[in-house]
Amino acid sequence: MAKSLLIISRQSPWSGPGAREALDIVLAGGAFDLPIGLLFLDDGVFQLAARQDAKSLQQKDLSANLQALPMFGVEALFFCADSAAERGLDPGALSLEEAGPLTAGEITALIDRYDQVITL
């Protein structure tokens, strides 16, 4: 049995390559059927904001890649409810419907459940 891996993504989508790299790890792991989970924490929850539009930045936003996660077999998708609330994000209007909100205590338990953790 492959070791399970939890990726904690805590960078905003436009602050640098961190958010995309975290997502790439998750999609690659999913493609190889690894037991993999993804948690959005801190500014990482901004990746889930609906109606992002980076056309004028001449960049592609991550929304389409995020929608691919369930297709790649990544169904363990979570976000920190406190991070979202602090940043004024409505948990019911995020771009990734599959992601579930977790409290701080639930995040502690989530980390416990996985064999390995990478925080980017």
Binding site: I8, R10, L41, D42, D43, D82, S83, A104, I107, T108, A109, I111, D112, R113, Y114, D115, Q116, V117, I118, T119, L120
Partner: protein, 97 residues
């Protein structure tokens, strides 16, 4: 299950420490390396927060020494072999990159 959380960024102007303290578990430990050692600067919010939390708290001795940080008695200054030992003792290491 226990996790060793490793921080290496300054807590001033960065949310890694506060976020880590929010989700750290009772069996977990926290190691401060590099600029994260500034969390032990007396008279600051991070210092007071860590003092009252009573965590299993470690700091790399050479990083504290280089930054003129006196390690308080509620934290343990360790060297690299002890860092390796801690990594082995815990089920996993979560490095806050």
């Amino acid at each position: 299950m226990s996790t060793l959380h490793v921080l290496s960024h300054s807590p001033f102007g960065d949310s890694r420490l506060s976020s880590c303290l929010r989700i750290i578990g009772a069996a977990d430990a926290l190691l401060l390396s590099g600029d994260a050692a500034y969390a032990l600067q007396p008279g600051t919010v991070p210092f007071a927060t860590l003092q009252t939390r009573g965590l299993k708290l470690y700091v790399l001795a050479e990083d504290a020494q280089a930054r003129a940080i006196d390690v308080p008695d509620w934290a343990r200054a360790i060297d690299y072999p002890a860092f390796v030992e801690l990594s082995i003792q815990h089920d996993k290491v979560n490095t806050w990159l």
